[in-house]
């Protein structure tokens, strides 16, 4: 059997540590904000005969950041600027020019969800966000 | 062994608290720099590296200098260094940590720092600098700790630790060589484009580092009755003296090449440093102070009778540290950028936030050194009591 020296102090310290680490969980218990519903009602999307993104919705929900990373590396580093979307149409791989052309409602489409999950992507430190009418 | 760091005198705690205060101020200033960008420093488009990178350069030297104790002890069985090699190793640990922090605060995008590892680029000297600095940090941590642990148990050092110690010797040379290569391989920066840059770095490191160490040893001897033989102090002073002479000799070589060849690009930075260029000469008084201090410290170090004088030795060492710090921690980096590639002169002076951040990093180094030395000194005292 091992003996625990200074057991009281160690256990107390551990308890305080666990308390601090889990603070966000128990502090926010029962106060969860409802998941945001993203709006797709932009003028460009409204005019589309087939409402379809460059990739299937399920893929975009989970992996839009990876796709954007791939796009940016391909464009900047390989100078390949276009790639086929899921329908086989060549599209410019551009956040500002392709994504935001349809999703011109950045506050409703990007920010809402990013705020909800508390991430702050730095895309817009450099890329110009579209002007929103509202 | 860590418990030895948390039981000390009042003065010990006051010193730690003071350091924490300085670190706090430095950290606050860093947050200010992080929000506003490096524009809060004195850096510019023309002088794009300054105080931070200069401190990095100086401290790599301090870190490498531990080898001046390790090498004589382990390769030449110079027994009197046996008790103090640990101090050299622990100082290296603190110095390298400061180096890392100085690089980090100098980055424009510090949160992307890991890109150096994510996109490894062997053609960049900075990549190799990162590797050797971290390697040297790890080596010294493991070696220092193992040696000390062996001492608490009264054992001899284990074989694998010895192997690491032998590896650490060329590693020490490599960290300062690679750091010199950061500068010495850049086209168009005549002041840095010199084959003896690494040699100059090593010679200044091998006088300045041991000088700082010896000052600390003399302090520990007085303040906490840390036992160091006179012979150890004397042979360290001899090493420092030779290294400083070589350092000054190398600087002289640079002067010869620049001014005898009369190539403008080679002369300009020296003229800026010692005389001023196009009416700009902020560093001139500093450089002359450095020269005078260098001559002064050599005058005290070369004659054995002065060198062995316990009162004069600290004065000589402080002058030496100041002289080399001005040369390397102030002049060397800045002058490489003056004049700029378009023959314009833009001067540089660090700003208050920049100095506060630097001071904060030095305080972190002092904190690490204090804690590690505290442990080392106590362990050695215990060992004496037992035997």
């Amino acid at each position: 059997m091992m003996k625990l020296y200074n057991g009281k102090i160690i256990l107390l310290g551990l308890a305080v540590f666990v308390g601090i680490v889990t603070f966000p969980f128990w502090f926010n218990m029962g106060k969860a904000a409802p998941a945001p519903v993203l709006k797709l009602d932009t003028p460009v999307i409204a005019k589309m005969p087939v409402k379809q993104c460059v990739r299937p919705t399920a893929f975009m929900k989970a992996g839009h950041m990876q796709l954007l990373n791939q796009w940016r590396d391909t464009v900047v580093r390989d100078n390949n600027r276009v790639a086929p979307d899921q329908a086989g149409v060549m599209r410019e791989m551009s956040l500002s020019n392709t994504c935001m052309e349809c999703h011109s409602n950045k506050t409703e489409f990007c920010d809402k969800c990013h705020n909800y999950v508390s991430v702050a992507p730095y895309c817009w430190n450099c890329h110009i966000q579209p002007k929103e009418n509202s | 062994m860590l418990d030895k760091a948390i039981s000390g005198s009042r003065t010990y705690y006051m010193w730690l608290a003071g350091l924490l205060g300085v670190i706090g101020v430095g950290f606050g200033c860093y947050l200010y720099q992080l929000t506003n960008g490096l524009g809060v420093t004195g850096l510019s488009r023309d002088v794009s590296w300054g105080f931070y990178i200069a401190q990095l350069t100086y401290l790599v030297g301090v870190a490498a200098s531990g080898v001046m104790l390790v090498l004589p002890y382990y390769l030449h069985n110079h027994k009197v260094f046996g008790k103090i090699t640990i101090l050299g190793e622990f100082m290296a640990v603190a110095a390298i940590m400061m180096c890392g922090l100085f690089v980090l605060v100098d980055l424009g995008q510090p949160m992307r720092a890991l890109n150096i590892i994510l996109y490894p680029t062997p053609n960049s000297i900075l990549f190799w600098d990162m590797l050797v600095l971290n390697g040297y940090l790890l080596l010294n941590l493991v070696i220092g700790w193992s040696v000390l642990q062996a001492e608490t148990k009264g054992d001899t050092v284990e074989k694998w630790v010895k192997v690491l110690i032998y590896i650490s010797i060329p590693f020490a040379i490599s960290i300062h060589t690679v750091t010199a290569f950061l500068y010495a391989g850049l086209p168009g920066r005549h002041f840095w484009l010199t084959a003896i840059m690494a040699a100059r770095f090593l010679s200044s490191a091998f006088c300045a580092g041991p000088a700082i160490l010896l000052l600390i040893i003399l302090f520990l001897r007085k303040a906490v009755k840390f036992e160091v033989k006179d012979e150890a102090v004397r042979s360290l002073a001899v090493i420092i003296t030779y290294a400083m002479i070589i350092n000054i000799f190398f600087l002289g070589l640079e002067f010869f090449t620049a001014f005898y060849s009369q190539i403008p690009g080679h002369m300009h930075s020296f003229i800026y440093l010692y005389k001023g260029l196009d009416g700009h000469g902020k560093l001139v008084p500093w450089m002359w102070a450095s020269s005078i201090l260098a001559v002064f410290c050599l005058a005290l170090l070369i004659p054995p009778r002065f060198r062995r004088n316990e009162k004069l030795l600290p004065v000589a060492l402080v002058s030496l540290v100041a002289a080399t710090w001005i040369d390397k921690g102030l002049g060397l980096v800045v002058a490489g950028f003056i004049p700029n590639p378009l023959d314009h002169v833009t001067e540089y002076a660090p700003t208050l936030p920049e100095l506060a951040i630097s001071l904060g990093i030095y305080a972190i180094g002092a904190l690490v050194v204090t804690v590690l030395y505290k442990i080392a000194v106590e362990v050695k005292k215990d060992a004496l009591d037992h035997h």
Partner: protein, 261 residues
């Protein structure tokens, strides 16, 4: 200290360390080793191609007004602000006195127009670029067509490239450049604070089949841009015919901006 406790802690520590190392490794941690590219990615149909892009600057043809027009076109096309503090200046293409652009060529007697007429300088997009050699993250790299590109997403702001560039062609964003921009062209991004930037021979325009903005702003063919590896290109023909100089050729960087004087 108690031996068993120490051994116990050692085992726990090692296990934790192993967990940290092994877990990410299993998930493909080194992202640059296998970079995934969107399937079917290609250049645009209109893209201009070259073996090695080069610029010719016909210094005699320039006037103060045409130089200013060229610089302004570049600032507009790339959202480059004019900084209040000259120490923080952001320069892609700018004018210098002849003696500053060519310090080693400054003779006691030179033609009057050379003394008076300023010279446009920019990134030389060197064929053997020192900046690319020193960059620790490949944030700056040389494309097969010779353009020395910046990947602003990857730049950590170490400024090694600025120390390495023998032409002073690189600028650093000491603060958020947007604070100093009066108008922004939404089709081209700005930069963020903490990254290095420079002229890229308008890679984004070449990709769309357009000449660089500075060349397009010339009325009188003051700037000529083309493929230096194609003997029939205008650039090659001019350089074959007329005496031309480059900035600091002795450094071996192989600058790709040629000056007619």
């Amino acid at each position: 200290m108690d031996k068993t406790r120490r051994n116990f802690l050692k085992v726990v520590g090692l296990a934790a360390a192993a967990g940290l190392v092994l877990k990410p490794a299993g998930k493909g941690f080194a992202m640059d080793l296998v970079r995934r590219v969107p399937e079917g990615a290609a250049p645009t149909d209109k893209a201009l191609k070259a073996g090695r892009w080069a610029m010719v600057v016909d210094t005699k043809k320039f006037t103060d007004a045409s130089r200013e027009a060229v610089m302004e076109a570049c600032r507009k096309a790339h959202n480059i602000p004019v900084m209040r503090d000259p120490r923080h200046a952001l320069k892609w293409i700018w004018d210098e006195n002849y003696e500053n652009a060519f310090p080693e060529q400054m003779n006691e007697h030179i033609p009057e127009y050379q003394k008076k007429n300023k010279v446009l300088v920019m990134c030389n997009n060197c064929a053997n670029p020192a900046c690319v050699r020193v960059c620790p993250t490949k944030a700056t790299f040389k494309r097969p067509d010779g353009i020395v590109m910046m990947d602003y997403h990857r730049c950590i702001g170490c400024r090694f490239c600025m120390a390495a560039c023998p032409y002073g062609s690189r600028s650093f964003n000491f603060e958020d450049p947007r604070k100093s921009l009066t108008e922004i062209d939404p089709s081209y991004p700005t930069r963020t604070k903490g990254v290095v930037e420079k002229c890229n021979f308008c890679a984004e325009r070449l990709a769309r089949g357009m000449q660089p903005a500075c060349v397009a702003a010339c009325r009188n063919k003051e700037l000529i841009f083309g493929d230096a590896t194609d003997p029939k290109s205008e650039v090659s023909r001019i350089l074959d015919e007329r005496f031309n100089i480059r900035r600091r050729p002795e450094l071996g960087t192989q600058p790709q901006v040629y000056y007619l004087t």
